[in-house]
């Protein structure tokens, strides 16, 4: 297919995706609120930029990232690749969860890097930075969310390899979130909860889904229909913890700095 035809196909897809949203927004704007926004032209231009940007973004992903990512997920989980790391006398039956170490490393790195590029997370980080008057750094938030996703996806891969039921992991995660909630600074809590849902959009979901399906197809005894799911749940649970942890660490550091400053002042006075 020619580039242009493919571009139009993807743009059409994006338009059908955006159309209901635009209809709702402008429908309510004109029929219920009955006012024309002062900068209507600029806003419409903004929508056009979003459409164009999202289409290009998806098309680019379709061409480079997704095929590569899928092939890599397939190759890394391939038994012959795993076997290559084993001793000569060992057989498939001797494969242990640790032999999948490249899968965990890949999961960690791809989870981190796709989250850094996730447009929805960039949007929320800009907003949070704006609303908090700069107290929450754009990069601080993005990196802590990305770390959460990275840990979540590698743990999720480990779960697929060993075959544990998913709900014990998720429930344990909930318990940790609840405990952290009672200690974390109040300002961060809603944002931390939000960052769970934000992380998994355009870039992360297709790659992570490919990884989960690849793993569950090749690990002996796993059923892709049942075990292939769940990675996205891990990817949306762990950022909640990592963002709260980030806020707790920042608060602890600020406290420590303040204490040091007071001590310094005392010494100076003495």
């Amino acid at each position: 297919m020619s580039i242009l035809a493919e571009f139009f196909a993807v743009t059409l897809e994006t338009v059908t995706d955006v159309l209901p949203i635009a209809a709702i927004i402008f429908g309510f704007q004109f029929a219920v609120l009955r006012q024309v926004p002062a900068n209507l032209g600029e806003i419409l231009a903004g929508f056009a930029w979003v459409l164009l940007g999202l289409s290009l973004f998806l098309l680019g992903l379709k061409w480079c990232l997704f095929p590569l990512g899928r092939v890599m997920a397939g190759q890394l989980t391939d038994p012959s690749f795993i076997m290559a790391g084993l001793e000569a006398h060992e057989t498939i039956a001797d494969i242990q969860w640790i032999d999948y170490y490249w899968v965990y490393i890949f999961a960690f790195l791809i989870g981190f890097s796709t989250t850094i590029a996730e447009p929805a997370l960039i949007a929320v980080a800009i907003k949070a930075n704006d609303v908090s008057g700069g107290a929450i750094g754009i990069w601080g938030l993005r990196i802590s969310v990305a770390l959460g996703v990275a840990v979540g996806i590698s743990l999720g891969c480990y779960r697929i390899v060993v075959g544990d039921p998913i709900h014990w992991y998720i429930i344990t995660g909930y318990v940790i979130v609840v405990i952290q909630t009672s200690f974390a600074p109040k300002l961060i809590i809603p944002l931390a909860y939000d960052s769970g849902g934000v992380t998994t959009s355009t870039v992360t979901v297709p790659l992570v889904a490919a990884l989960g399906l690849g793993l569950s197809e090749t690990v002996p005894g796993r059923n892709p229909l049942i075990d292939g799911f769940g990675l996205i749940a891990f990817a949306s649970l762990f950022p909640i913890m990592s963002v709260m942890a980030y806020a707790q660490l920042s608060a602890a550091k600020a406290k420590l700095d303040h204490k040091r400053y007071l001590q310094q002042k005392e010494q100076d006075a003495a």
């Binding site: 926004p37 949070a128 909930y174 979901v205 229909l225």
Partner: protein, 245 residues
């Protein structure tokens, strides 16, 4: 004009920096771990260029279009003072943005395959389609309700954690009764519902609402809508799985 161009160029540099980690990871694994050459280099480079341009334009449009309209509408609704229309708007936004979400359509189809394989429904195409559509509308309904609950919370100023923790408890209880096949999908469906366009709009709505209601803090009360939107689908999908069984 030159100022805009300069801004776009700077933004593009930012996009390159955002995408650099992915490129490094892929290159590292391709050459050092799997030790294979890259297939189709020209197409991949073109793809990378498109991704960089796309991300740049998207962020530009976000700040020019999505954020301002979301906030100005939130302010207008707050000034109008009609709770009914605000709730209608919140529901339509949640339902409308979710029902057409491509990621959700894909997940619903896979869920139908699982249900058919587990003999929960017939394996005819019609039965599967009916199941997938039912699931899709269930999730869209749950996201619509989530945004409504989230908006009411902002107006009333309830702390977000009680509602979320309450939701977690419901999820845990339902996990014990839901069919095993649906649990993985239900947990995943929380993450897939919130798309790249929905997130900025819903965030702007929450923050705009919290800033225009007296006594609300945009940081504490403005965020949290997305959290509801990713919690309720888990509950509703498990309920759907239990009902269909």
């Amino acid at each position: 004009m030159t100022a805009t161009l300069k801004k776009l160029l700077l933004a593009m540099l930012g996009s390159v920096r955002d995408l650099l980690p992915i490129i490094l990871v892929i290159v590292f694994f391709q050459f050092f771990v799997l030790q294979q050459p890259l297939p189709n280099i020209a197409q991949i480079l073109l793809g990378v260029l498109f991704v960089v341009l796309g991300l740049t334009f998207f962020i530009h449009g976000l700040e020019q279009g999505l954020f301002p309209i979301g906030e100005s509408m939130a302010t207008a609704f707050a000034r109008k003072g009609s709770l009914f229309w605000l709730i209608m708007f919140a529901f339509s936004l949640g339902f409308g943005t979710t029902v057409a979400e491509p990621a959700l359509i894909a997940v619903a189809e896979e869920a139908a395959d699982i249900a058919a394989a587990g003999d929960m429904i017939g394996s005819s195409l019609e039965a599967k389609e009916g199941y997938a559509d039912g699931l899709r509308y269930t999730v869209a309904l749950s996201v619509g309700l989530a945004i409504v609950v989230g908006v009411i919370r902002i107006i009333k100023g309830w702390p977000v954690q009680w509602l979320i923790i309450g939701g977690y408890i419901v999820v845990v209880i339902m996990t014990m009764f839901a069919p095993a096949e649906i649990i993985g999908i239900a947990y995943d469906s929380g993450g897939v519902t919130t798309s790249t366009i929905t997130v900025p709009l819903v965030t702007a709505l929450g923050v705009g609402l919290a800033s225009s209601i007296r006594g609300r803090n945009p940081m504490i009360d403005g965020f949290g809508l997305i959290a509801f939107a990713s919690l309720t689908p888990m509950i509703f999908v498990m309920a759907y799985g239990m009902m269909i069984r």
